[in-house]
């Protein structure tokens, strides 16, 4: 059972690490805008897709 206090200590250290990572993320602006990045990636990616949907002539079959 000697290992038990060590394990508990390690878990506390991991919690500290998680907190540190979260604070870093929050300072870098990661959570400032939860909406646009999701849209941005969709819109930039969809360019070829939508064009091919509406103008079949352009459909060269490339991804």
């Amino acid at each position: 059972m000697e290992v038990f206090p060590i394990l508990v200590g390690i878990s506390l250290v991991v919690v500290g690490l998680v907190v540190w990572i979260y604070f870093r993320m929050s300072s870098s602006g990661q959570f400032d805008d939860l909406d646009s990045p999701a849209q941005r990636i969709l819109l930039d990616d969809d360019k070829g897709h939508i064009a091919s949907k509406h103008s079949p002539a352009d459909d060269s079959g490339k991804p």
């Binding site: 038990f4 805008d33 646009s36 849209q39 941005r40 930039d44 969809d46």
Partner: protein
């Protein structure tokens, strides 16, 4: 023509099909106006068509932008740029080469973007700006409607970039880099961090508490101590970091001799923590560290949801309260109109009657009266003598005034901007005031029960580990969140929803006034009817001493600065006459009409160059001795003219206006009637015309009274009020400002006088009357939701507190009960968003 068709771009109704359209995503889409069409075409041309496929909210109506585009000029003014633009030194790559697009020092700033509403907007803005020459960074934030921009000052300028945005249907405003902004951002970050820490702490402490929950008796003393010490190590920082907001607020309140909802929360937290500490030291049978963290997390979570809703409402209000800059009419040193920030110290300017002061002034010449209600809330006009100081933003109620500018105009304009933002931000106190009032009584009750419980324990000499959990459970389970969070949340949700529908509500109290209404009175001209669409027929009369061009010129001069809907219709008619006239028949060199003033409820009056009185208005106003002119009856059957123009006592022309009811008037009135309201029409117009209108609307219940002077309207309203009704008034504030002020609830339609817009409880941002019915509907729905929430909160507390006091519910379950109760009432409030 299909009536229900909506604009593909901005979702406003399409007035005439086939007139405007744009090809978007491979199909022709109907548009409501040339503005939307141009914006849609610009978006497609810029390659941002996907915006339409991905957007989650409709675009802003470009007409709303026109009024704000003048602010863009301030973006180039040194008074703003000096403070809000940072220079970013050029970055050199390791290879010694400059980064592409950044070969020189860059400018950087943050702007507020009106119309930036969803992620797709952000994408479109970034895409187009990054294509523009000289822009090296564009980051649009859809949750705060802000844009961070970095550009090369040698290649492009903010003015050019704001023009680019305007073409896409967005307005860049010189807000956004202020102190308030920073403060708001910091606050939000702190709220998120506190919530995260509490959540993480709860999960960890729960994990450590689980062995004790499941096998408490079998764990050896050393292991138990380790678990409890680890719990303490996690719980203490969580309590100090995440709970500091509650503890500080409660401490401040107690020191000032007040009670607020944070007092029982803090007491619960501290008691549970100190009790656990004692349990740890005395090796008691239970500790409550997990209850502390869970309680913190749940309360913080509930508050966070409420503050997200509130911030969203606040930001929309802030956008809407922003008005176009007041144009300054400069007389010296160089005469001409200019934006207020171009004014210099000691410039001489004039301010027309009824206009807002564009800068701080020292009054010259004659005395005047100012309305300073928007600055200080003082409801009565304030008299000013020559030499007195007149604050920027006040409204001139007297005749045209002349004044000398004090201080530079730019400082004033900037101050005004931040003032508006602060006014929108200050929305909070009203709600928390309400919440605190409820919480105070509630807290008092809870503390009484808690003290009774301790007394009980002392009298019957109970051991500590029996009465302590009971006490903690009482304090935790009874959290007044259900009462004090749910009210503001319901108000916030319905205000947010009303804003989406184009209805600006001055304060949450207006909703309460709305649902108490029994009677609603309407003004006729400009409110029920639509003078904008009316046609004007003119017929010269009398000895025909004046040519038609001269008559129209009198009209144009008399009506130029009036906001009365009939005057505005006449002004438009005269302006279009001159615009379409052939060469030679244009304006004659008629000397200017002087001393023009508006007689409320009567008409316009002025003086010709040779001192004769010229009047425009009803026959009785224009002619001292009213006699129906014989040739007036020959036009359009036997109907008398709506307005006359007269010089001294002689009528020189009559004007026939046919103002039609607004297209949505009937549907709105029907809906209001279904809500159980008594409907009245108060009008200054002739009774037969008012009755005719009531007849076209085909509503037998509509009680219409004509020929009312403004004072008579007021009397009528008071009469209805004294017979025990709550009476609301819908008007445009032109002949009915005192009536609007006297009404229990005032609703100003979209084309109202500035004063009415500002003072009205409810202000419709979109033309038409639909908003009136939508507001009344929403007010009644809000009442239902509030009633349900309060009923739940009372029922829950009446059940849960006795259970906790009897020891049936432990501290942990108390926290769960409290939180689920809070979440339930908030979910109920969120129904208003649909």
């Amino acid at each position: 023509m299909s009536l229900g068709q909506r604009c593909y771009h901005c979702n406003e109704p399409v007035p005439a099909q086939g007139l405007w359209s744009a090809r978007v995503l491979g199909e022709d889409r109907a548009m409501c106006c040339a503005g939307c069409q141009a914006v849609a075409q610009a978006i497609v041309a810029s390659g941002g068509e996907n915006y339409y496929a991905q957007r989650t909210s409709n675009a802003l109506d470009p007409k709303q932008l026109d009024r704000l585009s003048a602010w863009a000029d301030l973006l180039e003014d040194p008074a703003w740029t000096g403070r809000h633009i940072q220079t970013v030194p050029c970055r050199i790559k390791k290879s010694g080469q400059a980064l592409a697009n950044e070969e020189t020092d860059q400018n950087e700033t943050t702007l507020a973007i009106e119309g930036l509403r969803c992620g797709a907007c952000a994408w479109l803005i970034e895409r187009v700006l990054l294509q523009a020459p000289g822009v090296s960074l564009a980051r649009a934030n859809a949750s705060t409607a802000r844009l961070r921009l970095r550009w090369n000052p040698n290649t492009t300028g903010l003015n050019a970039l704001s023009q680019t945005l305007l073409k896409l249907g967005y307005a860049a405003l010189p807000l956004g880099a202020g102190q308030l902004e920073e403060q708001r951002k910091r606050q939000e970050k702190l709220e998120n961090r506190r919530l995260f820490i509490a959540g993480l702490g709860w999960a960890q402490v729960m994990m450590l508490a689980l062995p004790e929950y499941l096998h408490g008796s079998q764990i050896d003393a050393d292991a138990l101590l380790t678990l409890r010490l680890a719990s303490l190590a996690l719980c203490l920082p969580v309590l100090l970091y995440s709970g500091s907001g509650f503890l500080q607020s409660a401490f401040t309140a107690l020191r000032q001799g007040r009670l607020n909802m944070d007092v029982p929360i803090s007491l619960g937290l501290l008691l549970a923590f100190l009790g656990s500490l004692y349990g740890l030291w005395a090796q008691a049978s239970a500790v409550y560290f997990e209850s502390v963290t869970m309680f913190l997390f749940l309360v913080l979570g509930a508050r966070r949801i409420e503050s997200v809703i509130r911030r969203r409402t606040m930001r929309r209000r802030e956008e809407l309260s922003l008005e176009p800059p007041v144009l300054a009419h400069r007389l010296e040193p160089e005469p001409g109109d200019c934006p207020p920030w171009r004014l210099q110290d000691d410039d001489l300017i004039r301010v027309p009657s009824g206009a807002r002061l564009p800068a701080d002034l020292e009054l010259l010449r004659a005395a005047t009266e100012l309305d300073i209600s928007s600055l200080t809330g003082e409801p009565h006009p304030v008299g000013k003598e020559p030499g007195d100081f007149c604050p920027e933003g006040a409204i001139n109620l007297g005749p045209e005034l002349h004044g000398r500018v004090k201080g530079s105009g730019a400082q004033g304009s900037l101050a005004r901007l931040s003032q508006l933002a602060e006014a929108a931000a200050a929305e909070r106190p009203q709600w928390s005031h309400w919440a605190d009032r409820v919480a105070t009584k509630f807290t008092l009750g809870i503390l009484t029960i808690a003290i009774a419980s301790i007394t009980w324990a002392i009298v019957f000499q109970e051991p500590l580990d029996q009465w302590l959990p009971r006490l903690i459970a009482i304090l935790v389970v009874s959290c007044p969140c259900a009462l004090s969070v749910a009210g503001p949340a319901a108000y916030a949700a319905s205000l947010a929803q009303l804003l989406e529908k184009g209805i600006a509500v001055s304060s949450p109290d207006s909703l309460a006034k709305g649902w108490a209404l029994k009677t609603l009175a309407f003004d006729k001209t400009g409110t029920l009817t639509e003078p904008e669409s009316s046609s004007v027929v003119m017929q010269p009369m009398g000895n025909k001493a004046y040519t038609e061009a001269e008559i129209w010129e009198f009209v144009e001069q008399l009506t130029e600065n009036s906001h009365h809907p009939l005057a505005m219709a006449l002004f438009r008619a005269s302006a279009s006459k001159f615009a379409s006239a052939e060469p030679g028949s244009g304006r004659s060199a008629l000397p200017a009409v002087q001393a023009i003033e508006q007689k409320p409820g009567l008409g316009m009056q002025g003086q010709t160059h040779n001192g004769k009185r010229v009047r425009l208005g009803s026959a009785s106003f224009v002619q001292a001795s009213p006699a129906t002119p014989s040739d007036a009856n020959r036009l359009e059957g036997a109907e008398m003219a709506s307005l006359y123009l007269g010089i001294e006592d002689e009528l020189i022309a009559g004007f026939w206006l046919n103002d039609r009811p607004r297209p949505d008037a009937k549907a709105t009135l029907l809906e209001l009637q279904k809500l159980g309201l008594d409907l009245w029409v108060f009008s200054g117009d002739r009774s037969d015309r008012v009755r005719a209108l009531a007849k076209t609307l085909e509503l037998p219940c509509l009680q219409a009274i004509g020929e009312l002077q403004p004072e008579e309207k007021l009397q009528k309203l008071r009469h209805l009020q004294t017979s025990g009704h709550n009476v609301g008034m819908v008007g445009d504030g032109i002949n009915d400002a005192p009536v609007l002020a006297q009404a229990d609830l005032s609703i100003a339609v979209s084309a109202s006088a500035p004063l009415a817009k500002q003072r009205a409880d409810v202000y419709l941002l979109r033309p038409g009357l639909r908003g009136v019915a939508e507001f009344m509907n929403m007010a009644q729905r809000t009442r239902t939701i509030l009633k349900q929430n309060i009923a739940w909160a009372i029922g829950y507390n009446l059940t849960a507190i006795p259970l906790a006091a009897l020891g049936i519910i432990g501290p942990a379950w108390a926290a769960v009960g409290m939180a689920s109760s809070s979440l339930l009432v908030m979910a109920n409030a969120a129904r208003l968003l649909r």
